[in-house]
């Protein structure tokens, strides 16, 4: 998956979904809402969704006397980030809620996010544990609970059936099946050279912890046993030429390859199904939604995915009002009505809620999965969402080390170095970068 694209889409969708109030109909509607700051207040809420958020805000304003929300529509995700940096520099017109634009730790290191623990704590049970974890640093909420769009798989059933193979349920079997498919000229998965997100997600799934806070310092370990499990699987796939390396920058070529029957499996999140349906022709109806493979020794089913939570910026004087609005937009039935797509009437998957089963079947497109019922596909998505780890700490300098990881991943995919060497190099880069920034850390063994 293209991390940047996925991240951006996930950000926009999860942020939009969270802020749009597409998240109603759950027990959270009865969760105690935090008290708004005394007296009527007006707060600015930023976003780049031009379709539904304004309707949600209007509905909120119509039903609340003490808080008035002013939705400040930004031109794009990028424009939002640029403008936000500017207002934080000028300390003027700071909004009271920002959609997620970076991992919460990065947001905190940049000095942007307020501690909103006292406001989120009373309402947190409405949200999944993964969503809660993603919004916390060192046990405190610096962001609003945000759920990841969890990974599941789309298998080309026609390809598997043609060669008499079963869709693998473990990563170890994934390699075995990949070897068999290779003999028929089919690759088992696509690993784009620019995108190491598969490695991050598999490491997360295996239980890796690359960064952890230990008192006043960071513990860094990109070479723990869990990570090495993921590294080993990917290395086998690469060494045996079982994977394709189609870039996400060349979308027509990518879709054409996926659609050609030369690729057996595609990892994806719920929001990308429609895009595949729109761009596939020959393989429409041949795909089947399946669970993401597990590691053989996994004790329970887990899926991967990370989220970048929205936050209340430092400088906002009404954090309680901001949290009350976001909580209402995330859980109220009125919000879901207001947030429906005006043209299609559709709603998204409210990824931050504890149980999304009621929403997943509605987002399944009608052609790509052929005879597989939408309810069954929805169940796969819900299972992934409900089992999402959510938290994967990316440390205080994610922006700095991720491009380095892209470089190293690219070299590993081109077989210039091994993935293990790549992880060693990235860890060395992180140490150097943290040194230059004066951040305390310890590299774990």
């Amino acid at each position: 998956m293209s991390t940047k694209i996925i991240k951006r889409k996930a950000l926009s969708i999860s942020a939009a979904v969270a802020a749009l109030g597409l998240l109603a109909g759950c027990g959270s509607a009865t969760a105690p809402a935090p008290a708004a700051d005394a007296g009527p207040v007006t707060i600015d809420v930023w976003g780049w969704d031009a379709e539904s958020t304004q309707h949600v805000v209007d509905a909120f304003n119509a039903s609340h006397d003490k808080i008035k929300v002013n939705y400040v529509l930004q031109a794009s995700n990028t424009a939002t980030q640029t403008n936000f940096r500017n207002v934080m520099e000028s300390k003027k017109d700071i909004p009271c809620f920002m959609p997620g634009i970076a991992p919460i730790t990065t947001t905190l290191v940049n000095g942007w996010a307020q501690d909103i623990t006292q406001y989120v704590e009373p309402i947190k049970d409405a949200y999944s544990t993964g969503a809660q974890a993603a919004a916390q640093v060192d046990g405190k909420f610096f962001g609003f609970p945000a759920g990841p769009s969890a990974t599941f798989m789309m298998a080309n059933k026609a390809v598997y059936d043609k060669f008499g193979l079963a869709v693998p349920k473990t990563w170890e079997d994934f390699v075995t099946v990949g070897k068999e498919l290779k003999t028929h000229g089919v690759t088992v998965i696509n690993l784009a050279g620019e995108d190491p997100s598969t490695l991050l997600q598999m490491s997360q799934q295996a239980g890796a912890s690359w960064f952890a806070i230990d008192g006043d310092k960071w513990k860094v370990n990109l070479q723990d046993d869990a990570t090495m499990k993921a590294v080993d699987i990917i290395q086998q796939l690469v060494d045996n030429d079982l994977v394709a390396h189609q870039t996400y920058k060349d979308r027509p070529a990518l879709y054409s390859y996926f659609d050609s029957g030369q690729l057996a499996t595609v990892p994806l999140a719920w929001w990308s199904m429609t895009g595949y349906q729109t761009n596939f022709k020959a393989s429409l109806g041949q795909w089947q939604a399946v669970d993401v493979p597990q590691f053989k020794d996994a004790k329970q089913f887990v899926s991967s995915g990370v989220a970048d939570p929205g936050f209340v910026p430092v400088g906002c004087e009404h954090p309680a009002a901001a949290v009350e609005y976001v909580n209402w937009a995330s859980t109220s039935k009125d919000a879901i009505e207001a947030g429906k797509n005006q043209k299609t009437g559709s709603v998204g998957v409210p990824t931050n809620l504890a149980d999304v089963s009621a929403y997943t079947a509605n987002v399944v497109p009608d052609k790509i999965f052929g005879s597989q019922p939408a309810a069954e596909v929805g169940a796969v998505i819900a299972k992934a969402q409900n089992a999402a780890v959510g938290k994967f700490e990316r440390g205080p300098d994610y922006d700095a080390w991720f491009p380095e990881m892209q470089d190293q991943w690219g070299k590993a995919m081109a077989k210039q170095i091994t993935l293990k060497q790549a992880m060693t190099n990235v860890q060395a880069f992180i140490a150097k970068d943290l040194d230059s920034k004066g951040i305390k850390y310890e590299v774990s063994k």
Binding site: A253, P396, D407, S436
Partner: protein, 327 residues
């Protein structure tokens, strides 16, 4: 009468004494002479440029210089505001020995050594060809060749990404017709692909400058050469090219400056061939990465100034060398 008459006299270059009325007028506004006012009026046409240059070029340079003299550090877990302190020339000292930065500089310099002569040669050839045909035909080709220059860089790259695409692009099957099976996105071809894009995007502008210079060459010299039996090729090589040497130096310098600062092409091609084009592939990419990924604006500012100094030095050296050759 006064001022209009005065203007006419001045324009005529008459060195007559000013009339009584004119003297009276001058004494009425003693602060500026007529000539000074004219100069101010003339200079006022440059104000839009001067203001833009000051705000968007000089001011950022000054701000960048200021930024480069400081450094910021956090402590502990890195949370909270960073401490900014005066660092003197520390950032410059680090930049001057940074192997990542200088490797990228070497890489781009080698690329420039290859690509700039290619651009110059093609631009000159096209300019000579267009100069040799009838004006109506020349105008058509001039416009067609300028189109790539008019297309924004990022758009051009997206177009070429499609053209190069091994699956949906038309180039691969086209070359396949001649038995050439190549992948424009492969590591071994990536420089060629970027270079081709650079040539495509810049020959139009260079050709226009050179064509303009060729148009200024006195035509009677060609007639004299033809009477002496010179061929068109000989005229081109012995008369036209020497006449446009100044413009060749200009386009060469502009190409060198642009090439050393190359950013758009490798940044987008990085997705295609990340094992070859790393985040620190060119000096501008190193600077961008330091500023917007690593978050070290101070060091990025210092590197920007070092890059500007290198580009400036390269320009001066080449300008002097070409002047020597000319003299």
């Amino acid at each position: 009468m006064s001022s209009r008459v005065e203007v006419r006299k001045s324009l005529d270059g008459a060195e007559q004494k000013p009339s009584r009325q004119a003297r009276a007028g001058a004494s009425a506004s003693p602060r500026f002479s007529w000539r000074t006012k004219q100069r101010i009026k003339g200079a006022s046409f440059t104000w839009p440029f001067v203001i833009g240059f000051a705000v968007f070029t000089l001011l950022p340079v000054v701000v960048g210089l200021g930024q480069s003299l400081f450094s910021s550090k956090t402590s502990g877990l890195g949370f909270g505001a960073a401490t900014v302190s005066f660092a003197g020339f520390d950032n410059f000292a680090r930049g001057l020995v940074d192997p990542v930065f200088w490797d990228s500089m070497l890489r781009v310099s080698i690329y420039a050594v290859v690509i700039v002569p290619v651009i110059q040669l093609i631009s000159l050839t096209l300019a000579l060809l267009i100069d040799a045909v009838k004006r109506r035909v020349a105008n058509r080709f001039r416009l067609i060749l300028l189109i790539p220059y008019m297309i924004p860089g990022i758009v051009a790259i997206m177009i070429w990404l499609y053209l190069y695409s091994p699956v949906v692009g038309p180039l691969r099957p086209f070359f396949g017709l001649f038995g050439v099976h190549t992948d424009f996105f492969s590591g071994s071809m990536i420089w060629v692909s970027i270079g081709n894009l650079a040539v495509w995007g810049s020959i139009g502008f260079n050709m226009l400058i050179l064509f303009g210079a060729l148009q200024a060459v006195p035509r009677e010299i060609f007639d004299a050469a033809r009477v002496d039996g010179a061929s068109e090729f000989r005229i081109a090589m012995s008369i036209k090219v020497p006449y446009v040497r100044g413009s060749l130096v200009l386009t060469g310098l502009l190409s060198i400056i642009g090439t050393l600062q190359i950013f758009n092409e490798p940044t987008l091609f990085r997705s295609i061939s990340p094992e070859s084009i790393t985040k620190d592939f060119t000096p501008s990419m190193v600077i961008y990465n330091q500023a917007f990924q690593v978050g070290n604006l101070n060091y990025a500012a210092a590197l920007s100034i070092i890059l500007a100094a290198v580009v400036g030095a390269a320009s001066v050296i080449i300008y002097r060398l070409t002047n020597k050759v000319e003299s």
